[in-house]
């Protein structure tokens, strides 16, 4: 007997509705908040309608644009490096050899650490006086650097901390994806005389491209939202050289006490992340093959 078409809708409907409400409510709330001037610690009845002022200010504020640029640069550098390193590590540890399990466990440890702890750890590692990074440089006769006090080096420092923490995520996603590549296809390519690089770039990676796209999208979204590590490591400084958009939003909301303005910039961030995610998915639509 054929199942009536409304049955799946009946079963799925409640879950979809709850998910949609849970996703949409905060977004709509943020959008609504953007039309009000509301300071934290005051009742909502004190909120003042300001119309599109906060959105206009967000677009005309040079600090918003400079932090957006910093965010784009941060995301581009971090995510590129994490994708390359994560895929390379996964390919290196793809085949079970002696110690594989140990190294796989070791490589995923950083992403299990709380971001605040990561920020603190790197703050000490990069400390100009007592940090391990300068101590190691000293062993090679190199001068100590003020990693967190020089704008360019501070940016490099936050990039290194992010790559260290999140390359393992790419690694673990790729290890899982590569494990599911059909062995027969690999064997066939080997019989056809494919070399290592041909097997990697023309066979394996195209076969896991849907996982790469999803991983890329998830890392991009995360890179745009990162806050705690940079908060602890540099608090956006020196100057505003490491002030990414999420930190700018934080400062606007919790230091400037302008929740409406912060919400308006958050909507801007949402649009940017959504556009980039859409672009990443367009690269290789994981759902295409399911059609």
């Amino acid at each position: 007997m054929r199942t009536p078409s409304w049955v799946p809708a009946l079963y799925l409907g409640p879950a979809v509705l709850i998910m949609a409400a849970a996703c949409l409510y905060p977004v709509l709330s943020a959008f609504q908040l953007g039309f009000f001037d509301w300071s934290m610690g005051t009742p909502w009845s004190d909120a003042r309608w300001v119309g599109l002022d906060s959105f206009v200010s967000a677009f005309s504020n040079p600090r918003v644009w400079s932090s957006l640029w910093t965010t784009l640069l941060f995301a581009a550098v971090c995510v590129s490096a994490e994708m390359v390193l994560g895929i390379a590590l996964a390919l290196a540890l793809e085949k079970p050899v002696r110690g594989t399990a140990f190294f796989r466990t070791l490589f995923i440890l950083p992403m299990m650490i709380a971001p605040i702890a990561v920020g603190l750890a790197w703050r000490y590692l990069f400390d100009a006086q007592f940090g391990l990074v300068n101590a190691v440089l000293g062993l090679f006769g190199m001068a100590a650097r003020g990693w967190l006090s020089d704008p360019a080096l501070a940016f490099a420092a936050i990039v290194v901390a992010d790559i260290w923490q999140w390359t393992p995520f790419v690694f673990i996603m790729m290890v899982a994806a590569l494990a599911n590549v059909d062995a027969a296809v690999i064997e066939a390519s080997r019989i056809d005389g494919a070399r290592w690089w041909q097997m990697t770039f023309l066979v394996k990676l195209p076969m896991v491209m849907h996982v790469i796209a999803i991983t890329l999208m998830m890392r991009l979204i995360d890179a745009f939202r990162v806050l705690e590590v940079i908060y602890v490591l540099t608090f956006g400084g020196p100057g505003d050289s490491t002030e990414i958009l999420a930190l700018h939003i934080y400062k606007t909301a919790f230091v400037g006490q302008q929740l409406g303005a912060a919400a308006a910039i958050s909507v801007l961030l949402l649009v940017v992340v959504a556009a980039l995610s859409w672009g990443a998915l367009r690269l290789s639509n994981p759902l295409k093959s399911e059609k």
């Binding site: 300071s39 934290m40 610690g41 005051t42 009742p43 400390d127 100009a128 006086q129 007592f130 100590a144 003020g146 990693w147 967190l148 006090s149 020089d150 704008p151 501070a154 908060y231 540099t234 608090f235 956006g236 400084g237 020196p238 100057g239 505003d240 050289s241 400062k251 606007t252 919790f254 230091v255 400037g256 006490q257």
Partner: protein, 443 residues
Amino acid sequence: MKRRSFVKGGAVSVFGAGLPLRGALAQSRYARYAGQTVTFGIPAHPHYDAMLKILPEFTRETGIKVDVDKLAMGRMKEKHLLEMAKPQGDYDLVSYVVMWKGEYVAKNLIHPLERFLKNPALADPAYDLNDIVPIYLENLGMVGGPKGYLAGPGAQLYGLPYGAETSVLAYRRDIFAKHNLQPPGNYDDFARLLRLLKDKEGIGALASRGQAGHQCVHAWLLHLNPLGGSVFDDRWKVRFNDEAGIKALKFLQEVVATGPAGIPAYGQGESNTAFLQGQAAMYLDSTSLAGLVNDPAKSRIAGKVSWALHPMGTRRASQSGGLGLAIPRNAKNADAGFLLMQWLTSKAQDKACTRAGGTPVRNSTMVDAELVRQYPEFITFREALKYSNPDWRPIIPVWDKINVQALGVGISEALTGKKTAEAALNDLVAPVTQIMREANYKV
């Protein structure tokens, strides 16, 4: 009436109300609240670490339990604001940074203390509010008055100092003796010593804060005041880019150039650590360092430090600031919260907390013979308090925004060489003026 006498006068009249009710009523004031739990929001801070050592005694003595919520200083305000905005919040007593007091009052989040102090069932007749260092009481407790954050007509007491501080100079006695140097009495000597110590000793001359945001502004203000400057003039017009402001910022740039490496990334913790670990010959900042200097677990320079007054510029002016205690309006157990506040800041517990490494808020503690033997620097601290300026920074409700989002970026840019001192301060005039206008100041 002078401002300080206003503070004293107000305090006496308010506390005097409890005096006739000494005796049984006062002694039994805890009985009604035994079994209640006071939820106490505190920062991770050396003074509060010392306080935690004496806190169990409060419960033993009163039967009132205390649930402590300890937060990183930087995250404390947002948590407290969220809690205090609810119809009934989690906190019965909160610690706050001096800069937040005006905002908390403007948002009607904390109680004026008068209602507690005038309640004979709560107020301890032996408390002696006049013994609390008046400058601390004014700076941390008073809101209102002509400027909004100082004593004067219309001002009320909203909090009590606890973890209050002023600025003093700490210097390495061994290094100064080795080079036959004297601690700097004025800013000319101070500037000369920076270069001299860097060249002769090879370690940083002066430890300082410098991280973007509040930290670098604090460091700049430390020099701005004695050099004769201020952030605003008497009509709230920006004046920080005048000669004194530029001189103070150039001095801070020299501190960075001659100090331990990495000052533009230093918060208070890093600055303290640099001095305590022997990476700097001098330290000019909060008196809260005193409890750490001779603790061998935290300091490599125990027994090698002497203290002096904040050097004099065109005037002598040490900072005023630190932490206070207030009772949220939405506290569930506000009376029990007040009893804890009163107990912590009492004469006996101020001494106990100081013995445990905290910073005193009472004159009687700072002249206590036993404690002065333990902390001879209290003699200097008492002297420094005579020059402590309660108007050291304009703690208006929008100060946090000006501090972190405007000044904290521009001054940081000057410290990293991105801008000259003149350009950095001149570029800050427009954004700071804009913030003041948005806050309805007619400038």
